[in-house]
């Protein structure tokens, strides 16, 4: 299984510990973080696939910056959808990926750094499903030009 899929599986595992109603905050927080990193690693790995030299792809994937990825995703998310019926489906998938990236990154930051916030299992389930849906959408359009443009823009290039 790919690393990003492992992260989602790990998030699900953590979110379901101590069922039915006594989850530990540490498990819920780590689940949120894992869900974000599932999408993060899918995107950086996909972008790195375009790097010609396979031996350098892991190094390439480490060049991505969370803040720049958020800026890029916010821009992609706010673009108006095209009117062409075929293009609108692809653009809607991309918008889902970009929206989810911004949302999941904020959730991950709160989970990792804001101890005043209390997490519930419903919040965490919703976060994991959002990551899964975004990953599915991203994979569905991975070869499309606007998806490739997005991956390139995630590096923060102009």
């Amino acid at each position: 299984m790919a690393y990003h899929d492992d992260l989602i599986a790990h998030a699900i595992f953590l979110s379901q510990l101590d069922l039915p109603d006594d989850p530990k905050q540490v498990d819920l927080r780590r689940a949120v973080s894992a869900a974000y990193y599932g999408l993060f690693h899918l995107l950086t790995t996909e972008a790195a696939q375009n790097w010609r030299h396979q031996s350098q792809r892991n190094r390439f994937a480490r060049m991505f910056d969370h803040g720049r990825m958020k800026t890029c995703s916010s821009k992609a998310s706010s673009r108006p959808l095209p009117t062409d019926p075929v293009e609108v489906l692809i653009a809607t998938d991309l918008k889902l990926v970009a929206d989810s990236f911004v949302t999941l990154q904020q959730a991950r930051h709160a989970a990792d750094y804001d101890n005043s916030k209390v997490w519930s299992r419903t919040q965490v389930y919703e976060t994991i499903v959002q990551a899964q849906d975004a990953m599915t959408a991203g994979m569905a359009i991975r070869e499309k030009e606007i998806a490739q443009d997005y991956l390139f823009d995630l590096m923060g290039t102009r």
Partner: protein, 105 residues
């Protein structure tokens, strides 16, 4: 001069539009919002939404949250009309009864 988003510059108008969102879609027990910066300093609006236990049931949770998120995004357009990045937080009524987190009301 730094850019001040409409949602920060015109809080009264924003509250009026937030109040006009009611009635909420099925499954919403309570909805609150706060305007504050997100982790990277961008202006944002956080929605704290309590769902009925039925609506928060895992098999339909995704459907519920998508319906509510779409409703708020279409009615309010937080990013386009107010310059605020929207963030949605959901929990069930029974979870909130136990956790009693103030921000969820």
């Amino acid at each position: 001069m730094p850019y001040l988003p409409r949602g920060v510059a015109q809080p009264t108008e924003l509250i009026q539009h937030l109040n006009a969102l009611a009635p909420f879609p099925p499954g919403v027990v309570n909805l609150r919002s706060t305007v504050e910066d997100d982790w990277s300093g961008d202006p944002a609006i956080f929605f704290w939404i309590t769902l009925s236990d039925e609506a928060a049931h895992p098999p339909i949770l995704s459907q519920t949250t998508r319906r509510i998120t779409n409703f708020i995004t279409q009615q309010l357009d937080p990013a386009g009309q107010w310059g605020l990045i929207p963030y949605f937080n959901f929990r069930s009524q029974s979870e909130q009864a136990k956790l009693k987190e103030e921000v969820f009301g």
